[in-house]
Symmetry: D2
Subunit: 319 residues, 4 copies
Amino acid sequence: MKKIAVMTSGGDAPGMNAAVRAVVRKSIYHGLEVYGVHRGFLGLLNDDIKPMNLSSVADVIQRGGTVLRSARCEEFKEKDNQVKAAKILRDKGIEGIIVIGGDGSFRGAERLASQGIKAIGVPGTIDNDIPYTDYTIGFDTAVNTALDAINKTRDTATSHERTFVIEVMGRDCGDIALAAGLAGGAESILVPEIEYDIEEVCQRLRKGAQRGKLHSIILVAEGVASGFEVGEQIKQKTGFETRVIVLGHIQRGGTPSSFDRVLASKLAAKAVDLLIEGQSSKMVGIKENKIVNVDILNAIDAPKKFDKEMYDLAKVLSI
Amino acid sequence: MKKIAVMTSGGDAPGMNAAVRAVVRKSIYHGLEVYGVHRGFLGLLNDDIKPMNLSSVADVIQRGGTVLRSARCEEFKEKDNQVKAAKILRDKGIEGIIVIGGDGSFRGAERLASQGIKAIGVPGTIDNDIPYTDYTIGFDTAVNTALDAINKTRDTATSHERTFVIEVMGRDCGDIALAAGLAGGAESILVPEIEYDIEEVCQRLRKGAQRGKLHSIILVAEGVASGFEVGEQIKQKTGFETRVIVLGHIQRGGTPSSFDRVLASKLAAKAVDLLIEGQSSKMVGIKENKIVNVDILNAIDAPKKFDKEMYDLAKVLSI
Amino acid sequence: MKKIAVMTSGGDAPGMNAAVRAVVRKSIYHGLEVYGVHRGFLGLLNDDIKPMNLSSVADVIQRGGTVLRSARCEEFKEKDNQVKAAKILRDKGIEGIIVIGGDGSFRGAERLASQGIKAIGVPGTIDNDIPYTDYTIGFDTAVNTALDAINKTRDTATSHERTFVIEVMGRDCGDIALAAGLAGGAESILVPEIEYDIEEVCQRLRKGAQRGKLHSIILVAEGVASGFEVGEQIKQKTGFETRVIVLGHIQRGGTPSSFDRVLASKLAAKAVDLLIEGQSSKMVGIKENKIVNVDILNAIDAPKKFDKEMYDLAKVLSI
Amino acid sequence: MKKIAVMTSGGDAPGMNAAVRAVVRKSIYHGLEVYGVHRGFLGLLNDDIKPMNLSSVADVIQRGGTVLRSARCEEFKEKDNQVKAAKILRDKGIEGIIVIGGDGSFRGAERLASQGIKAIGVPGTIDNDIPYTDYTIGFDTAVNTALDAINKTRDTATSHERTFVIEVMGRDCGDIALAAGLAGGAESILVPEIEYDIEEVCQRLRKGAQRGKLHSIILVAEGVASGFEVGEQIKQKTGFETRVIVLGHIQRGGTPSSFDRVLASKLAAKAVDLLIEGQSSKMVGIKENKIVNVDILNAIDAPKKFDKEMYDLAKVLSI
């Protein structure tokens, strides 16, 4: 292995730049040449590939987003394009690639692998929806962004004795809602993994109000319902004034937290090690606080386990 | 004047606590007794009034919201209740009151004044919609909160080349949208004071895209339209993918900025001075970087002047 | 077990309030009465103990510091005082106590245990210097505070091409310096666990300068040397202009991060479970991403393992 | 005027990039060509000058530091070099220059003006030490950074009942200490403009302690004394445990606040207008909330007025 490439793909996540930086510097440390593919698989098909050196990743570690940019690429599902992409890489002498992204990106990586390019996946997505890794790059930052919104809402909630509904990201995975909700002391947390009972939510609100609770915050993962819907339901059932916040894409931004930068650095370094060892079709991850790797196909197909114990704890603590 | 009271009323704003603290400490410094009215005019009617001392305002300067809480109070529009409120104050020997809030709160203050309680208004509202003061307490913090959202959106916008619509507060006054939009480098800023032309907004987006601009951010004051409406219009007219963020009440929260705390301290101290001088029916404000006072009726009736020059500058700088 | 107490002791750490809240609410959920001991072992000796209810811990989860306060207490090393303390607790019917703090606090807990009070330790200290737990409460927040300082320094460092020395906390444990240094892309990281060679540090600076590096940041744990000393040495050896920052106690403050609040909640809940089970002389911790418990004596005597692999990675990535 | 240049010089300040961006975009809007001089006067002498376009200032508005970099340049005090610099500019057809910096930078600008290059100064320095402008670019951000440190210190101070000394920037001007101290509720504020009496500082600490105050924070501008000195004095006189924080250059960094970005945009736009009008040897500023301009020599020689009223208010409020 003498030349490798790195790309970011799918939704961006804070810490992706720390991962790109680690790939580049670790590669150079081991004497590899490293190339950056811009705009994910779309850029790969368009040969938007540039050599990277130490300076390419100077002063990027603290930046949100991804300096390599990202894009969707439906065309990459076609076999012809996969063959073409592998050829583009091979023509440059690039034997391996590190793909930073979510499960869609890993599918792309696997397709490259099946065309003879050694491919390693690094889990980068704020949703934390990848199995076989306890954390994905970007999750910690996103949760802290959601938590900051809860902190701010709390200030005004306490002053006014109102009910707030905060919609956070998470289509299939409620981890952002769960972590931010537990950390923020939310009254109820609605996640896609557990069916919710609006009546129970309202019951908790009513009990809290009777006890003199000054405010209530309901976290809703976007995969469950829109915040506005939930707010409307609560208002109709309880008569309580509700206010809705839709955090949206600000959860993808912001300077990455220390946790995400350290995780990104460790995972990316491991990915380089795997390529050097000649491995392919693997995803790196963190399991039980250790950097590990698994077959990338596992990471695509397996369902992510939901932390029911943490969910129950959040309920106990918000009595 | 030996005893005075202080209350916060209407929507809360970051810096209200700094104002309450300054009222209490300045009053005690001058040998006055000072009382806190809880929950605004509602609390006043319910005699929810407590003596305050130096410790009552220890460690509140950095907190968002208001330790005196706030509430709406439709009943205070009734003459009987105004008479009752004045009596409640008079029975405790309270001769003057400082009301921190917006124009609705000033109306209440004026009603107390007409019942013989000397009343001074302090402009505290994030909207910056009070005439005769260049800034209201809370505005600077709210703009910085909106700006932080723009910063974060920018990260992901750059990575993905998308259009974002961010809805900020401002029913009749576009100052939050204008300041955050100029400071954040937004492509278009929609404010209630200037009619907007969706076609022009789209035209700017198209031009930017042609020039290779990586992202576009549109700020919308809530008084103009909902962010979702604007997003939908843009999508239909340009075909660009748009994402919507509704910041909502997080703009009311957060630890107050230095600007808001300094402003709050100065305005509140001035309000105490005015009561000591025996004045009433005044609003304190900051004009041309000086602490001033005006007849409170002016602050209620006059329209707030919009900074058209700044609006035009924002347009020039977002070419 | 019907009545338990909770205290914070030693240096405060962000997240201690989240732990206190979780102790209180989990206890109440299980029908226990819970008391708060103010000012650590000093307050215990002075019978500064108050019953806590759901409202005692309302709106504390987001606050830095500890609402139960903390204090040093040399007197508690005396046997007589330990007997007295146990009697004070027993007289109130308190059978178990949860002590949130560092190794000194655990020694105190163990002394209470030897007097017949069931005692459980919860690791709360920013230094991350407790063995048998991968993370202590407060560490993540402290690292992010240090990282924020690095981010800000980086801005000005890039503009001016200077060398900065940032002194962070860590008397015997270099974890804050290591994590913030890796996450912040520091050129060199000096920790108490690894002897440092000022000549090597200077050599890296010189090489960086030759390569056109715009700035250099050196992280120094306080246990190694003062930032000013290191700055002086570098200046003398390289002639480079150096600037020194001493973060000091701001690392102990700030609203706790999501990680710290979630960790605090889980550890504290586990501590309550242990008391209910009738256990004593245990410390709860997180190992391999699982909440565990160990004999508290282990946590006191064993040395904390240093993550040499992470240290080496930081070196590789800062080439 | 067809071609102009812009440079940043002296210590960097948050918001300088917003000013550079505004110069570039406003110039292009008016049909001017605009050049960026890198590394201040040093770069000017080395002909480190590049044409700028809209993209040169894309995504810089939110960044701390200065993309044009800065440097010291003793050589520019020599007449020969001033002649040389003017020639370099003239050879490129550059007739006017906008210099963003402090009083040293304005001296350089004035020297260029005396060589026939029209020069306008824009006050950019965190110290707020420029007369004839109420605010300099960067001051608001720096104060908020110092305030954030106070907020964090407060958390731990409250938990432990200690005295903290925080050294902030300000060699000749105490404005950062004053604003952060008032906003942060500091017990004492030591500024270069007012002689301090350590005995009075200690007296306030003792009184606070008697009253049960939980913590004390002393702000010290670096121009008064080092934080460590003041801490030592307090410890010796009162016996109170003191802790020292030296914020140093982190005050120069961070994403600029809204206030600084808006101010920077307005001042820079005005500077372009002045060049278009054919003016020279002016400094733009904000006086009484209006954008104004004064003879640049005034800004260099006049002393900055200290806000004694605000200083006295801070004392009253920290009783």
